[in-house]
Amino acid sequence: MCLAIPAKVVEISKGKEGTRAKAKADFGGVSRESDISLVDAKIDDYVIVHAGFAIEIMDEHEAKETLELWRELLE
C-alpha cells in the first residue's frame, strides 16, 4: 500500500488557475502523469511516487552517500 517508486520528472504542466500541478514522470522508460502538488519538483528531479502523487524529491547527494557508505562497509 505504501509502495512508492522513483521516477524522473521530464515535463511539468503548469495548468490553468485552480487545476492541479502535474508532471510527466519517467519510470525507467515508461512515462506516466503524476501529481506534484505535494512537492516543489523541478525538471530532472527524481521524485518518489505513491498512488499517483510525488511525495518527496529524492536527494541525489544522499543517494550517492548511501552507495558510498555501503561500499565503505565492504572495505
Partner: protein, 357 residues
C-alpha cells in the same frame, strides 16, 4: 539507480557481523513492504540464524481496516453510489461479503490506482461518487490535496490511520517484548524522524527508519543492533535519500488543513485515541459518514472476525500466519478468509506466496 542497492556481498558481510554479535533480539516493523522485502529476499531466515527475529506488526492498511468500515462501503454501493477504492481493498470481506461480491451483484464498485482517478469518474457521472480512502500518512495527504479542490458529487469514507499511535498502543498493551522498531520508510517520508521521538523517549526503545531494498532493511537492523548494544534509544534514519528529519512539510500542512486526528479502531486492536483521520468541520460535506448519515445508521454494530481467523493476533505480532489452522487449507489468496490473506502486503498472503515466514 535502484538496482545498485542490491549487493549480495555486502549483505553477506553485514550478516556475518551480526552473527558475531551473538544477539537474541525481537524487532518489529510496521510496514507491509518491509515484510515483502524480508520474506522475498530470505532475510528473515538469515537474520534468524543471527539470533534476530523481525515480527510484522499492524503495517498493512488494508488489513487493519475493520469489517465495520467495509460494511459502510458496501451499504453505500448498495444505495446506488459509485464506490471506488484501491485494488487490495476490493476483496477483503466485511461481515460476510466483500466489495468485489457486491460488484458481482451488479452494483457500481470501481478499483482505482489513485484518488485522482476517482475525480475523473466523478466528472463523467451524475451519480454520487464515494472514495473508500484507506492508507497511512503516506496516502492521506493525497486525499487531502484533492479535497482542497472541493470536487463535485464526491465524498470520502475515511479509513486513514496514523502509525505512531498504533506503535505506542502496541507497546502499552505489553503482550510481547519488542527490542526495537524498524520504521516505515514512506510513512516517514511524510512525517519525518521527529514524529517518532516521543516513543523512544517515553518507552526507551530504539527505532530506525529504513528503506525497502534488502540492504536498506539489513542495515536498518544492523543500526538497531548497534543502538541496543550501546544502550541507546534514539530515532535513526537509514533512508536519508528520501526521508528528511522534518519530513515533507508541504504534505503535512495539506494533511492538517483537511483532516484532524480522531479515535479509531484497528482490526485486532481496541480503539486507539488519535490514530484515525476525519475531515475537519469545514470539509464536512465531503465526509460520506455525514453526508449519508441516514443510510449508514444501520451499521453501528461491532462485527466479529471470521471464525478461526487469527488476523488480529497476526497484526499484533503475536502469531505467524502458518500458525493459523486455516492457513493454506481453507484460507488461500484465491479464497481468502481474512484480510491478511487478501492484501499483497498482508502477512498471510506474503507467507503463502513465498512459502516462507
Amino acid at each position: 539507480m535502484m538496482f545498485r542497492y542490491r549487493n549480495e556481498v555486502l549483505a553477506k558481510e553485514r550478516l556475518e557481523k551480526l552473527k558475531d554479535l551473538n544477539l537474541n533480539l525481537r524487532l518489529m516493523h510496521v510496514c507491509g513492504t518491509h515484510q515483502d522485502t524480508l520474506v522475498k529476499f530470505g532475510l528473515n531466515s538469515m537474520l534468524k540464524e543471527a539470533g534476530i527475529e523481525v515480527r510484522p506488526g499492524p503495517g498493512c492498511p488494508v488489513c487493519v481496516t475493520t469489517a465495520k468500515e467495509i460494511e459502510e462501503a458496501i451499504i453505500l454501493a448498495r444505495k446506488g453510489k459509485v464506490v471506488a477504492t484501491f485494488g487490495d481493498m476490493f476483496r477483503v470481506p466485511g461481515e460476510r461479503l466483500s466489495l468485489a461480491d457486491v460488484r458481482a451483484e451488479g452494483f457500481d464498485v470501481r478499483m482505482v490506482y489513485s484518488i485522482t482517478d476517482c475525480i475523473s469518474i466523478a466528472e463523467k457521472t451524475n451519480k454520487e461518487v464515494v472514495f473508500f480512502s484507506i492508507g497511512f500518512e503516506t496516502t492521506a495527504p493525497t486525499t487531502a490535496s484533492v479535497i482542497l479542490t472541493r470536487p463535485k458529487n464526491f465524498s470520502i469514507l475515511s479509513a486513514h490511520r496514523l502509525i505512531p499511535p498504533a506503535m505506542e498502543a502496541l507497546i502499552k498493551m505489553g503482550e510481547m517484548k519488542i527490542d526495537g522498531f524498524i520504521n516505515p520508510g514512506h510513512v516517514s517520508t511524510i512525517i519525518g524522524e521527529r514524529a517518532y521521538e516521543f516513543i523512544s523517549k517515553r518507552y526507551k526503545i530504539p527505532q530506525v527508519i529504513a528503506g525497502f531494498e534488502p540492504l536498506d532493511v539489513l542495515i536498518g537492523v544492523y543500526m538497531l543492533a548497534m543502538q541496543i548494544i550501546r544502550g541507546e534509544t534514539r530515532v535513526e534514519n537509514e533512508y536519508k535519500r528520501v526521508v528528511k528529519p522534518e519530513g515533507n512539510e508541504k504534505a503535512q500542512h495539506t494533511l492538517g488543513e483537511v483532516f484532524e486526528p480522531t479515535e479509531c479502531s484497528w482490526r485486532g486492536f481496541p480503539a486507539i485515541s488519535d490514530s484515525g483521520l476525519k475531515l475537519r468541520g469545514e470539509f464536512e460535506e465531503y465526509d460520506a459518514r455525514k453526508r449519508y448519515e441516514d443510510e449508514l445508521s444501520t451499521v453501528d454494530i461491532d462485527y466479529k472476525e471470521p471464525e478461526g481467523c487469527r488476523c488480529g493476533k497476526i497484526l499484533r505480532g503475536l502469531v505467524y500466519p502458518d500458525e493459523c489452522p486455516l492457513f493454506g487449507k481453507v484460507c488461500t489468496p484465491q479464497h481468502p478468509v481474512g484480510a491478511c490473506m487478501v492484501s499483497r502486503e498482508g502477512s498471510c498472503n506474503i507467507t503463502f506466496r513465498y512459502g516462507e515466514r
